[in-house]
Each structure stands twice: as structure tokens, then as C-alpha cells.
Symmetry: C2
Subunit: 516 residues, 2 copies
């Protein structure tokens, strides 16, 4: 591979590899079907870390320029060969690997695939998953036992697409207590929020339709929307006024988008938004409902983190405030209990729920009943509430430790959001730093996080990153943030040195085809 | 409602209601948005059975002419108003209710919705579900207990989209023993065959693509394909040479369809096909593989019933015979174990499996892990094999009783298939009889079955019906078939009387707009 890297450049090595390989393709030096070296091989040849090459390859794959096949190697892609560089095509059948893995807590297998060599003492701020060390396994076991003994025949037999009746009878009063007067016809049990959103996309959206999404947002939502080939209209999530709990979707931005487009759906996470951790204040919730009602556009409210309020006073959900019947709330047991049991639900007007039920029946008939029954029992006997209280206490301590560590160990110029709940904090590095490059060095020191860019619909901010705190023990949080602070510090110094030396280089580079 | 029924006509009452209401719509007497009477109300008015009206309404709903809303009543549809009568539009968003419910064992909630008043002593040959009275609930409970105790953290935590590793490690050797040398990269765990087929449709099919399907076939497959807006090319399932175990897809018909169309996929159930119970003979399997390979069209093999062989010698599966790498086999625990645990799998070439994995991740992240782990334990400890043996013995006895009863109690001129396994038998009534009309009378006598027409892609044969035998106890089988025989007999006599008297009437009726 005729690549020439400039280690002293301010452009990260992975970006140099990416840009030069892209240029080789456009110049015709690499042709569709050509095999390229394995990342390990190329890393050896260039004497750099394998992760650097892997990062470059992942970006090229997400652009559709290269494709990897298990056991067969990596090739210049034969399909969707872009004539010139365009953003990663988010089409059904297009490359999803990079957004779907690693960046995303709901993707699960991502980490192990991208980083099979992560060792046990790595401190991973990667995920927004609950802490498995605290799962009350004996309680779950007793619940599973009890329901199988009592209702085994019903559980093991084919069930209703609407959901397992005892679970429905647990959820309706729970929702009523939260100010949502839902009836039978308002409720559909699903396999979780991912499926709820997928069904909603199928029910509401056709290719080319416009959808308002938060920018940045949960990448699993973007995968669904790109699969449905809809137009995502990104509205900024306010994280600039950092060090306060509120923020969230910019309502003026929503209004502007509604005025300029025929919007079909608004997708929003009002509480402890993933990835920013921000919460929409009460007055903004009301404004959002009013403007959506004015334009007659339904709102999908992702309520998955809302019950993980770690301090302060809860705002009523959009669904609880909904006087126009335009809110569809999606929720699940994943964050407050166990993501391995795939059970969620969806609250909406009867006509919408009936349509989703039909689509769910086509997709997978019904949700697994052993888990539905076990979770119903877990909730009915008060064990869920007990567990949730315990987890909230634990996560609150972790959040506190995290904030203290950030305050103490991150260099000046670094900022972060102040979530009152949920599972993650959003970091903004000083301008000019690239979180993807930072990750390469942090990883060498045994610390992992997710670069912010993978959460953006457009205008990715390379200097942002997400830290998940819920799954990391207190002592590791401090240790991890100390390391992170050091790495940021060292990158900032490198940058300052590099900026002076590299000004000419960069100017030259933007004006011509990259060196090959 | 200005309807005039002719009870003495050879045209069933439900068909008279359906046709007259349709005529009212086309004549402009009923307009989009008009409310029509509830089925109970209209039945009272016309002094007929409510089910007769419900049957007519279900047909009109499946045509898209009327729509029902829970709690709000039934209305003349505002959308998709056909200018003239066309077959039920099978589009995404279109009416699925009728095909999806009742006709279909995988739909579950269908029966209870359409027939809430079915009493306990009704003999329901409706479903192709396993017999829940024989579920080894204690064994399942012990397995769930054991895996939660041993692997609770892993099970409850977010998992891999590929599937739960211990289950994968159980399935691969099981497949090897069946002649399928699948590796890790050939296997994807899903929520069951319905999801596997849905993912395959998403991966392979675009609107307008052509797919070869069996006619008649499993309605859940048709729902998926119509949702994907593909063109179904029906190829006949050979049931005419009745009273023999073999039959199945007509291979010459497949070849003709391949010659005349650019086909994207062939969907076939070689063993104990639903609804006919027929099995593809060995030489036809080879021919099918050869012709598909010649045209380079992948085959989806639905293997869900294959392990329920009740007598005779098993044919190797298409996947086991596959030398060209063109077969994708879908399978599940639903029929051999418990449909309430939603776990199935899919075997195919690595590129296909990787694509399905990406689509599965978008759809619902991964399959429920408590059920995956419990079923893995159930299989690993030999309990699955033991259970399956027991069920095969039971179903074999039921099949035998069923066949003896059919032989003894059905009137001459009625024919049926001779399945060597699976869960259902296909009945062909003497020409001129309508199974939907028969059902109304059978139901009054406490016997239920599924009219054959709901399994057809085109050319529905009104004189066919499906009898599921696996879920009915032996004594009820005999009693049910005696009743069915009597009802058929009485309908045949009515028909003979009616034909003579009604010849003029019918001739008149086809020549003009129905009476209103």
C-alpha cells in the first residue's frame, strides 16, 4: 500500500490513512474488488497501532468504500461506488457496522467485535447499560420459578400479539400512577424500544418523509430511520450552556423545521437524553406539545431513561401532559431492570396501537412470554421498585464521583453536561481536539469511551465524547478520569506544538490531492 | 340496511350479505365514512346468526371496503376505495386482520378475537400448535432455574445480536448430526421463523420483486411478502393425488415460473407443509435444488415441522442436500417445543447471515436471553429429545385416530391428504361446497376448522379446509369428525335440493346488479 504518513501532522494518523486510501480509490489505483491488507498487517507495515488502522477502515467501511467479509478479508467495495466523496450513505442495505457497534449501548456485541482484545482491567465508559454486578438474580429466579409453576401452560403456549395479559395488568396501573390514563387499547407490548421505534417507522414513514430528530441522538434510532430511507431533520440538543441539568431539544429549532418542511414525526428523549444526559424543562415540554399540535405532527417520546432520576424533581412526561392525543410513548425494562430480557411497551391512541399490533404480528408474532411473565411478577411483588431504588442510589453515587473527578482532573477548556439522571455525561473537549484520535491514546492507557461524532445526524463535532457512568465502579471512575485527563492534556500540548509547525502543511494539503 | 336475503339460495348467506353490501357501496348508497350496523345488530335485524354477518364483514374488511375501529364501530372505508371489485389489496398498511387471525396458527390471538364466545367443549381443529397439556413444565422450570443460577449476569445483561453463545453451541452439533455442516458464521438466532422470514424479505426483496410461493401456503408468509409489496408467484402444491404422503410443490411449475420471471426468492416447506401436510419426495428435492441453481435463485427452506415426523423415513433437508450454497434454512423451537418462547434460527451463507444480523440489530437488538438460555439447557441435558419423542408418539396416535375417523365418518366424495408428520391434514370437499359456509354450521355444532381459502395466494378453492390434529385429544377427534361428517352430509343434501330449485335464480343474479 503506497501510503505515506506524517506522524508530526496535526491531522490524526487514522484520518491520514482514511484520506489517502480514499484518494487511491478515486485515482483508480485501487479498484473495486481489490483486496487490501488486514488491519494488523498494514499496522505492522506502517509501524503504528492496529487500532489506528482499524479506525480508518471502520470509517471507510461506513462510507461504503470498502467491505469486510468474515474469514475472507477486506476489499474495495463493488457496490455503491461513490463518484466523489459523500457522507456515509444511510440506506437500507448500506453499511451500518460502525454506527451500530461500539457507539451504541443497545448494540451489545459491538465492543467485543471491534475490540476483542480489551482486557479485564480496562475501564470502559463505553456503555449506557445497567450494572450487571447488581442484578438481583435470586429474585428473578424466584419470579421465573413462580410464574412457570403457576402459569406454565399459558407462558409456553403461543400468545397474543398485544402482550401477556398479567404484564399488561401490571403496566396499566403503573402508568396511571405516572399520570397516564391508558386503557387496554392504548397499550402494546414489544421487544423493547428498538422494536417500538422500528414498528413506528413502518407505520408512519415512507421513503423521503421528513422526521425531526435530536442532534446528537441515539444511533439505533438513526439506523432505523436510515433503513426506512427517510429524511432526518436534525435539531440541536442544547449542551452549550453546560453545567446545568436542563437543556435538550431546541424548541425554536423544532418550530423552524416544522415551518419549512412537511414533517411526519418528531422523535425526542425528554429525560436524560442519550448521549447528552440533558433534560427538557417543563415549559419547553409544553411548548413542544403546542407546536406539534399546531402542525398536527405526532411526537414519539423515548421514556427509557426517565425512571433513572438520580436527583432533583421529575418533570411530567410528554405523554402525561398530552392533551391533543399526539404523543406516542415508548419505554422498556432495559435501563431500569435487565436489557437481556427483551420486553418493552408503547402507549398511544388506539388506532396507532392497532396498526402497530398488526405490524408486530407480521414481524415476530409476539414478545417472548417467559420474560414477560417473569417481569410482571418481578414488578407485581414490589421487587422491581426495590431494585430500582437500589440502582438509583448506586448510580447517584457514581454520578457524584464522576462529576468530582471531572472537576478535579480534566484540563481547563474541557466542558461537560450535568445530567440529573440516566447513564451518561457528554464531554466537549477544547476545539481542535479529535475524540476519535484521543480514543486511540486513551485505549493504550486502558480507558475507553465513545467519540461523540457517531451520535450526530449532521455537523458531527469531533471534539465531543460520551462517558457512560452507570456501569463503572466508583474506584474505577476516579482512576479512569485521571487517565483521561492526562491523555487530553497531552493531546492539547501536542496540538499546540503541532499547530505552529503544521500550519503550512495543512494549508498545502487542503489545496491539492493528498500525498500518495 | 336495505338487504334482502334469500335463505333458500345455493349462495351462502354470508356471501349474499357481502355481495349486496359491496353493491351498495358501488351504487353510492353507502359512502366512505358511513357507519354500518354492528354485526350483532345486523344479525338481529336479519334474524340470522351473528357469525354469518361477522364472516361477511371480515371479507369486506379484507377487501378494504370497510374498516372497524375498536370501541368506535365499523365504517365504510375512506382509503383505498376500489373503483370496482379487485382481490384484497395485500399492501403494507392494508387490511391483514382476516388472513392473520383465525386462519393461522402463528397468529395466536386470532381465535379469541373472532370467536370470543367459543365455549370450553368446542372441538377446535383450528390450530397447528403443540399440545399444551403435555408441556413438561417442571423440566422447563428446572432449566430456567439452573441457567439463572449459573449464568444470571450474562442472561440479564444486553447480549449479542448473533444469539446467546451457549445456545449457538447446542445448535451447531445438532445441525451437524442432521447433515448440515454449519459454522459460527452460518448461524443467526432469531425470534422465530416469522422473524427470520421477515428479515429475509428485508434483505432480499424490493417492491415489485417476484417470489415463488406455495399455493396454498402459510398466511404469515403472505403477510410478510405483501408488506414488502412483492409479487407472489404461486406454484401449486400437489394435493390432488390424495391419500399418499408425498406431494408438495410442483417442480415443473417452479421451473416454468423461473423461466418466465426474474425471480428473487423461492419459499418452500418441504416437510409436512402447512396447510396441506404434504412432503416433497427426495427426487423432487434434488430437482428443485438443480433448477434453483441453474437460475441462481436462493431457496428459503421452512424446516419448522420437519422434526415432527410421525411415521416413515425422513428425507434429507434441502440445506443438507445443498451443494450450491443457495439454501437458507429457517427453523425454530415453536413446533417441537414451546411457541411461547420466541426462539428460532436461520442457517445460510456467511454474507447472508451477516446482512440478516445487521437487520436484526435494527429490528430488536437481539433475541430474549432467558428463553435462549433455558432452551439451550433444555436441549443440552437431553430433555428436548425426550420431550420430542413423547410428543411424536402422542401426535402419531392422534393422526391415526384422525385418519380412521375421516375414513369412517366423512361422506363419499370428500378427500384428504395423508401427512406422515406435522400438525395438519388438508380436506377437499365435493365441488360446490363452501368451507366458510360449512364453518358456520359446524360451529353451531361445536366444531371449528379453518376454511382453506385463507391459505391461497390466488385461485382459492372454497371447497378446501385445514384440520389441525396435534392439539386435539383422541376422544374429541372422533367426536369432532363425526359432527363434521354430519354437517358436510347435510350441506351436500341441501346443495342438491338447492341446485335444482335455484338454477333460474342464480342465472338471473349473475346478469344484473344484486337485489337491494
Amino acid at each position: 500500500m503506497p501510503l505515506q504518513l506524517q506522524p508530526e501532522s496535526s491531522i490524526p494518523l487514522y484520518a491520514q490513512i482514511r484520506d489517502q486510501m480514499r484518494a487511491l480509490v478515486y485515482a483508480g489505483e485501487l479498484r473495486p474488488g481489490d483486496r487490501i491488507p488486514a488491519s494488523r498487517e498494514l499496522a505492522d507495515q506502517l509501524r503504528i497501532h492496529r487500532t489506528t488502522v482499524a479506525t480508518a477502515y471502520a470509517e471507510l467501511e461506513s462510507e461504503g468504500l470498502i467491505e469486510g467479509f468474515v474469514g475472507r478479508g477486506t476489499y474495495i467495495s463493488r457496490r455503491n461506488q461513490p463518484r466523489e466523496f459523500t457522507p456515509a450513505p444511510r440506506v437500507q442495505g448500506g453499511p451500518l457496522r460502525w454506527e451500530a457497534l461500539f457507539a451504541d449501548e443497545r448494540a451489545g456485541d459491538g465492543l467485543s467485535r471491534l475490540m476483542p482484545q480489551v482486557s479485564d482491567d480496562t475501564i470502559a465508559f463505553i456503555s449506557a447499560k445497567p450494572s450487571e454486578g447488581c442484578f438481583p438474580i435470586d429474585d428473578v429466579r424466584k419470579c421465573a420459578n413462580e410464574v412457570l409453576k403457576r402459569e406454565g401452560r399459558e407462558i409456553l403456549q403461543l400468545g397474543a400479539t398485544d402482550g401477556y395479559e398479567p404484564l399488561r395488568q401490571v403496566l396499566l396501573p403503573m402508568l396511571a400512577a405516572e399520570g397516564i390514563g391508558a386503557k387496554e387499547s392504548n397499550l402494546l407490548i414489544t421487544d423493547g424500544c428498538q422494536q417500538s421505534l422500528d414498528l413506528l417507522a413502518k407505520a408512519f414513514l415512507r421513503p423521503g418523509d421528513a422526521v425531526i430528530v435530536e442532534n446528537p441522538t441515539y444511533p439505533g434510532a438513526l439506523s432505523i430511520l436510515s433503513g426506512a430511507r427517510v429524511r432526518c431533520l436534525p435539531v440541536a440538543v442544547q449542551t452549550s450552556r453546560v453545567k446545568q441539568a436542563y437543556g435538550g431539544l431546541d424548541i425554536a429549532g423544532v418550530e423552524a423545521a416544522l415551518e419549512q418542511n412537511r414533517v411526519k414525526l418528531i422523535v425526542v428523549t425528554p429525560d436524560f437524553q442519550n448521549p447528552t444526559g440533558t433534560t427538557l424543562r417543563g415549559e419547553d415540554r409544553q411548548k413542544l406539545l403546542d407546536v406539534a399540535a399546531r402542525f398536527q405532527v405526532p411526537i414519539v417520546e423515548d421514556h427509557i431513561y426517565a425512571r433513572l432520576r438520580l436527583r432533583g424533581i421529575a418533570e411530567p412526561s410528554l405523554k402525561a401532559l398530552d392533551r391533543h392525543g399526539i404523543v406516542i410513548q415508548i419505554d422498556s425494562f432495559s435501563k431500569m431492570a435487565f436489557p437481556g430480557l427483551r420486553v418493552g411497551w408503547c402507549i398511544g391512541p388506539p388506532r396507532v396501537i392497532e396498526r402497530l399490533r398488526q405490524l408486530k404480528q407480521i414481524s415476530d408474532l409476539h414478545t417472548d412470554q417467559l420474560s414477560q411473565a417473569t417481569l410482571a411478577e418481578f414488578a407485581k411483588t414490589g421487587l422491581l421498585e426495590k431494585h430500582l431504588k437500589r440502582m438509583i442510589k448506586l448510580y447517584a453515587r457514581r454520578l457524584e464521583v464522576m462529576e468530582k473527578s471531572l472537576e478535579r482532573h480534566l484540563p481547563a477548556g474541557t466542558e461537560w453536561t450535568r445530567p440529573d439522571g440516566g447513564m451518561s455525561i457528554w464531554i466537549t473537549l477544547p476545539p481542535g481536539l479529535d475524540a476519535a484520535e484521543l480514543l486511540i491514546h486513551a485505549r493504550e492507557q486502558g480507558v475507553l469511551f465513545v467519540p461523540g461524532r457517531y451520535f450526530f445526524v449532521e455537523n458531527p463535532q469531533p471534539n465531543t465524547l460520551r462517558l457512560g457512568f452507570a456501569g463503572v465502579e466508583e474506584k474505577d471512575i476516579t482512576r479512569g478520569i485521571v487517565t483521561l485527563g492526562n491523555v487530553i492534556d497531552s493531546e492539547m500540548r501536542k496540538k499546540q506544538r503541532g499547530t505552529r509547525r503544521d500550519t503550512e502543511d495543512s494549508a498545502a494539503r487542503t489545496s491539492r490531492v493528498p500525498l500518495i
